[in-house]
Amino acid sequence: MSKKIKKKSTFIDMTAMSDVTVLLLTFFMLTATFVQKEPVQVNPPQSVSEIKIPETNIVSVLVEPNGKVYMSLDKQPDRWELLQKMGEHYNITFTPEELKKFSLLSSFGVPINVMKDFLALPTEEQDKQIINLGIPCDSINNQFREWMRYAKIVNRDLVIAIKADGGTPYPLVKDIMETLQELKEYRYNLITSLKNMPEI
């Protein structure tokens, strides 16, 4: 008697697998907070502090090693209003298209007098040019102070966070801190990366 090997179908039911993946996908989509594009890469120094930064209403100040300053606001309507107010202060009228373009940028950092030209550029050009620009914050032309002042006017609840590179010379950071002191902002956050608490 010859035994015939039964041919089994190799068809695997993928429905369950699909269910699982869709579930995971939903989870990741809902929890996703996208990495914000920053004009320059900075490495914040390490600290043992475990306080987390609040999720919304942050105005962050990015300081790169050579002292160039960039700012970012997390809400689009705030950015729109901020540029409008800055324009009024420096007597520059921005068109609604320019305001729209500005409100779409995650971070900004160009002197106000070249802002109009900057906004007219395509995105790739902007990314290239912003590295060489930055907000002027010296004592003669402290535009950073104006940005910060108007940012606080636009949204009172803003929390200030400074993200500076570890190698930034202290005087540059001090300038920023002093500007904030002038604006009567005495409490702010320094963004750091986590280091383990040593045994004491």
Binding site: D13, L24, P45, T168, Y170, M177, L190, T192, P198
Partner: protein
């Protein structure tokens, strides 16, 4: 991909054929996996850490300074090339020319470090903080109580008051390291201050080649 199997239903003519519809989900799974990978790579799961600091108001600062007891004051100077110095108490005029007053230290955690000094001088508070932390970890006290008690403990009348003064040569990392030591050693009162001419004089006497004096004259 969808497989439709035809079932033999008795060969009766005119009756509708029954279909068993089975859809292959493999490509769907493939696509989902791809999307998951994308979202996983694009998200930042951990939010960045921050250090909360409160700077002194410019107007009240000077009056507060005079009240500090001499024995409690520790001044940390952040110098050139990541060098750190400290001195105890307030500077008197004759101390300016005495480089021995200045002690070189570091942020490492060994017996010569700033941490060893501050932990020694702040022992009472550190012990209390340890106990409190243990209580919190064992869920004996709530988070808000923990914070309240932390503030109370740090008000200790004997713990050192640290003044952090950075020279022009210090980097931001040095500053954060110094602030970090304050956190580790549970120092309740500390301040970031501008460097005084006397401190620069002391640094110059300690290390004449570093150029501390030049900076002072520019100011």
């Amino acid at each position: 991909m969808a497989e439709i199997q035809e079932k033999d239903s008795g060969g009766k003519k005119g009756k509708q054929k029954k279909f068993n519809v089975r859809v292959d989900f493999t490509p769907m799974v493939d696509m989902n996996m791809l999307l998951i990978t994308f979202f996983m790579l694009c998200t930042t799961m951990s939010k960045p850490q921050t250090m909360e600091i409160a700077m002194p108001r410019k107007d009240v600062d000077i009056k507060e300074q005079e009240k500090i007891k001499d024995s409690r004051a520790v001044t940390v100077l952040l110098g050139k090339e990541d060098r750190v110095y400290y001195y105890l108490g307030m500077l008197k005029t004759e101390d300016y020319e005495n480089p021995e007053k200045l002690v070189e230290t570091n942020f490492s955690g060994d017996e010569k470090s700033l941490r060893a000094l501050l932990l020694g001088r702040n022992r009472e508070v550190v012990e209390q903080m340890k106990e409190l932390k243990l209580k919190k970890d064992n869920l004996e006290i709530a988070d808000s109580t923990y914070r309240k008690q932390t503030i109370e403990i740090k008000k200790n009348k004997e713990s050192p008051i640290v003044m952090i003064k950075a020279t022009e040569f210090a980097t931001y990392r040095n500053l954060v390291d110094a602030l970090d030591e304050m956190n580790i050693c549970s120092i309740g009162t500390y301040a970031i201050m501008d460097i005084a001419p006397g401190d620069l004089r002391l640094l110059y006497n300690r290390d004449p080649q570093a150029g501390y004096e030049v900076v002072k004259e520019e100011k």
